[in-house]
């Protein structure tokens, strides 16, 4: 019933104790679409992203990825929590890139990329290595297969992290402020990889403060504040002609 959308969020609510972080967020993302989530820190955009692959458990509302309810099984009118194994199977289809890269420091770049395909998807090792090398050269790191994360720059680490997520052949990629922890001069190389990925037709949700990237690459832009979606639309429209006062103040500070 939700087949036409890759991601469908219906009135998603999330609270940490008494603190309500998401107050009914609804949005749809079509296959191949690139959606940028912007907003001030604490607006709930990262939390919403983490809900999509069940790193956070939603308290109310429903989240579907490719028509499949996230985190729960619906039988009759009751919801059952998914077993860890089932939740893991859902996450396998959703790639995630973190602000702080979260590469595995004890593994080389190539080992980082092939670990999950071999252990989780049971891909043959030789095949995983071949594909891993392809992915690393695709993100411009053909010479860095055997480097440990600590020997790579921030931009290189983030590109390895993108290759690592892509190695699982996800149908959806989530980016949680992928360039916020980078030196300004390294931001471009990561955005280049993301732009190339968007052009290849990947469905992407990107939490970012890079308005230039949002305007150039995104199909839709959503502005969140205080746990709700304030405004959404074509990036150029929202950025150049914001309708709400809150959006205007925010954009005047970041643009």
């Amino acid at each position: 019933m939700n087949q036409q959308y890759m991601v469908k969020a219906e009135k998603v609510r999330k609270n940490f104790g008494a603190n309500e972080v998401l107050k009914g967020v609804s949005l749809n993302v079509s296959p191949g679409e690139v959606l940028c989530l912007v907003g001030p820190s604490g607006s709930g955009k990262s939390t919403f992203l983490r809900c999509i692959n069940h790193l956070e458990v939603v308290n109310a509302g429903r989240l579907y990825v490719d028509g499949e309810l996230i985190g729960y099984r619906e039988s009759g009118d009751r919801l059952h929590e998914l077993k860890p194994r089932e939740a893991a199977a859902q996450r396998r289809e959703i790639g995630m890139v973190f602000q702080k890269f979260n590469l595995f420091p004890h593994l080389t770049a190539l080992e980082n990329v092939i670990e999950a395909p071999i252990r989780v998807k049971k891909v043959a090792k030789a095949e995983a290595i071949k594909r891993g090398k392809e992915l690393l050269s695709r993100v411009g790191l053909a010479s860095k297969y055997d480097s440990y994360p600590a020997h790579l720059s921030g931009g290189q680490q983030q590109r390895v992290a993108i290759a690592r997520a892509l190695a699982m052949d996800p149908k959806l990629m989530l980016f949680d402020e992928p360039t916020s922890a980078l030196d300004p001069e390294l931001v471009g190389e990561v955005l280049d990889v993301m732009r190339e990925l968007a052009e290849s037709g990947m469905t992407m949700i990107v939490v970012t403060h890079e308005m230039g990237f949002a305007r150039e690459v995104a199909d839709a832009l959503v502005f969140m504040d205080n746990g709700v979606i304030v405004e959404s639309g074509k990036p150029a429209d929202v950025l150049l002609n914001p309708q709400h006062e809150r959006t205007k103040t925010f954009l005047s500070k970041v643009l």
């Binding site: 790193l55 860890p84 289809e93 979260n102 004890h106 080389t108 440990y148 020997h151 590109r159």
Partner: protein, 333 residues
């Protein structure tokens, strides 16, 4: 090597400064002073070293004391070196060495496994699992290992047999006699339970040292708890776990000498005690025991060094390696 690098760094600095200088004469002056400086920096400094008279006097005293001790010990009657050499490779001593090594190995292996279970239990959201683990650690760390070993020796007196049963159903199974457990097994149990309490805390510190983002990244890749523990979390925790565990193994090797409390009397220490009870020469046999303990603790120290190096992969010498490698691929995309 060092002066060469310094020179390269200086030139680099000079390149940055030059564009700010506008007139030709200034530029010449700049490069002249650069030459002057680089000549200086290539010349190795020969300065008169600072003297440390007190430190040197202390070192000489120590040396004199040590030599005096060794010379004296070499022909002091009571050390009885002929007896020492006679019993160093005595078959009772050697089989005692074997028992000590076996006790150490079994107790440590089981203690590490139980320690991991306890550490994971302590992090469990289930309050019962958590408090059972806490109480276990509290008890076994809080009482002396010697006392615990005496207790395990008395186990068959305290629990002559153990029967499992259900109310209204009756007895299901009985372990007839704890007497059948050998003293060796009781010693391993006693040492294991005590050690596992310490290992649990070491493992817990290791697990807590791994960034939470690692678990999330593993989760996001579709890894289950067991897989992410085995492949991601524990290998990283090992870096923190290994050094104190090495100390624990060394400490365990020596703690095995307390199994006489059980009483197990076939380990290295008791073997030498038995022999000296017959020969009336306790000192050379204490030296025999000490020698063997030292041999194996030294071996363990070397082993620990290599293990630490193995698990430091991806961490050691970060800054150096980055410099050595050309920074290519930076502009890619």
């Amino acid at each position: 090597m060092g002066s060469h690098c310094g020179c390269r760094g200086f030139n680099h600095h000079q390149r940055k400064v030059n564009p700010e200088l506008t007139s030709d004469s200034n530029q010449n002056a700049g490069s002249q002073s650069a030459d002057l400086h680089s000549d200086l920096s290539e010349e190795t400094i020969k300065a008169i070293a600072l003297r440390h008279p007190l430190r040197n006097i202390f070192a000489v005293f120590l040396l004199i004391g040590l030599v005096a001790f060794l010379v004296d010990a070499s022909h002091r009657e009571i050390y009885d070196w002929p007896t020492f050499s006679k019993y160093l490779f005595n078959h009772r001593v050697l089989s005692g060495v074997l028992v000590t090594l076996q006790l150490t190995a079994y107790a440590m292996v089981f203690a590490v496994l139980l320690g991991i279970v306890l550490a994971v239990m302590r992090q469990s959201p289930n309050p019962i699992l958590k408090s059972v683990a806490w109480t276990f650690i509290w008890f076994f760390r809080g009482t002396p290992v010697y006392v615990q070993l005496v207790f395990w020796g008395l186990l068959s007196t305290v629990y002559p047999s153990i029967t499992f049963g259900l109310p209204f159903v009756g007895d299901l199974a009985t372990i007839p006699s704890i007497n059948n457990l050998s003293l060796f097994v009781l010693a391993v149990i006693g040492l294991t339970l005590n050690e596992s309490a310490y290992m649990a805390e070491i493992v817990r510190a290791g697990l807590l040292s791994v960034d939470r983002g690692q678990e999330e990244a593993a989760k996001a890749l579709g890894m289950g708890w067991g897989l992410s523990m085995r492949r991601i979390i524990i290998p990283q925790a090992m870096r923190i776990i290994i050094p104190p565990t090495g100390n624990e193994v060394i400490s365990m090797l020596k703690t095995t000498s307390l199994v006489t409390a059980i009483p197990l009397t076939i380990d290295l220490y008791m073997a030498t005690r038995d022999i000296s009870a017959n020969t009336y020469k306790p000192v050379p046999l204490l030296l025999v025991a000490s020698t063997w303990y030292l041999v194996f603790t030294s071996f363990l120290m070397v082993l620990q060094y290599f293990l630490e190096r193995r698990f430091a992969r991806g961490y050691a010498h970060m800054g150096l390696q980055v410099q050595d490698q050309p920074l290519e691929g930076l502009g890619g995309g």
